[in-house]
Amino acid sequence: MSKLGLWGLKKSPWVYHLAAAPCNNCDIEILELLTPRYDVERFGVVLVGSPRHADALLVTGVINRKSLPRVLEVYEQAAKPCLVICIGSCTCNTHIFRNSYNVVGPYDKHLPVHAYIPGCPPKPEAMILGVVKALSKL
């Protein structure tokens, strides 16, 4: 990737929010980041409506059998390099749902993952920190 592109990515990461089979909690906290209290748009983080525009996928929730093909398709549509940032314990290790018949394992079994942000749900501050750390690895 060109130096300029990388600089652009780091300066203003566009994120796509992908909820596989979440409990809604991390998802709301992600939206919370956009609202006046945390307002990450001042750092250049923009929530975009299509994975094709995204630099990073913020994924939440366990993956289940019905959502797995859809999740993989969304990842395929995303422009590479694409960071996958796991938000919440469910994404990291399937949490309390590990014994369920419909859950097909954590994200790193199916996608390359760049950052894990555990917590149920992680605090918005932790999410910001996680995204920053993932970007600084690039």
Partner: protein, 393 residues
Amino acid sequence: MAGRRIVPIGPYHPLQEEPEFFKLVVEGEKVVDIEIHIGYNHRGHEFISPELTYDQVPFLVERICGICSNSHPMAAVMAVEDICNLEIPERAKYLRTIVHELERIHSHLLWVGLAGHFIGYNTVWMWAWKYREHVLEVFEMLVGNRNHYAMNKPGGVRHDLRPEMVKPIRDAMDLVEKKVWMLTKAVLDDPVILSRLEGVGILTRAQALAYSTTGPTSRGSGVPWDVRRDEPHAAYGLVDWNVICFPEGDVLAKTKVRMLEMIESVKIIRQCLDRIPEGPIEARIEEVPPGEGCGRTEAPRGEVFHYMRSDGTNRPLRHKVRAPSYMNIASNKVACVGGTIADAALTLAAVDPCYCCTERMAAFEDGRLKYTWNELLKLSWQKTERVRARMGR
């Protein structure tokens, strides 16, 4: 533009945060049928629950949904208490009520914000979510987490209210009340918003009864049922409050129900803080006898129903969960039909659907794809713009 077309919405789109999939069948601009596909969020709670002890079950059902994360554990422990025929201590009752009503406020504010976003009023979104933060702060102080509260346990509650917490809660309530009135007035005074909400997505009383809808969805259709009043649990029989009900059945009525319910919640919380007695916060359960019990409570979206069967061991034999959206989403089938596509996004959102709850539970298909959710949202925004221009605002 003759002929039927199919407009798929979902399963992944950026605004409604959860995966869901609707197929709207349209003729021109008019919606003539809708197919609802769920299952993208099915995690098998009813399967996991019998592997856990009664003490662990609340932590599992809490994670059904992050917004109703007090309603589900509360209904589950009420089912256990129903099996045992146990009465919990007074103080625990009041504490449950306080947390439950705080949850209602934050959930309704969340919905108001999203509804504003759907019709292109991002200001409403930002404002509503800004004031919602104050409620979350109260939660963090009261139970130590912003979202999953871990408040309920069979026989009582886990966290006590310390005296120094009372004042911050009252302050937050004063602020929320003031701002909710402001939002209510702003929404009801704006002719543009009114014309987008009024007469849209009507669910008649008969349809509400046939689909067994609950919560604000049915109270907006003139069905004055509220589990808090009809089967008084926790402290709801001990404080003074009103059931809000409007007969029109459109999105505006549902909005008004939610707005005014927040004011009622503030009222309930204030009374609870005034009247909360000293004493223990939990009753000890020695054993759960064989038998069956039902627990139900009024979540922000409607009635949460839990059924539990015990065989005398420390784990439930069967645990059935029914979340309000399970019934309410099915009613979209009739509410959406007859409207235009531009109104569909709003109508679908008007029941405050919670898929996480519903399911405990596309390859954006065929060449007939016409609108994505984004374009649908744009349609909705354009309609608002048109209305605005027509009214000269």
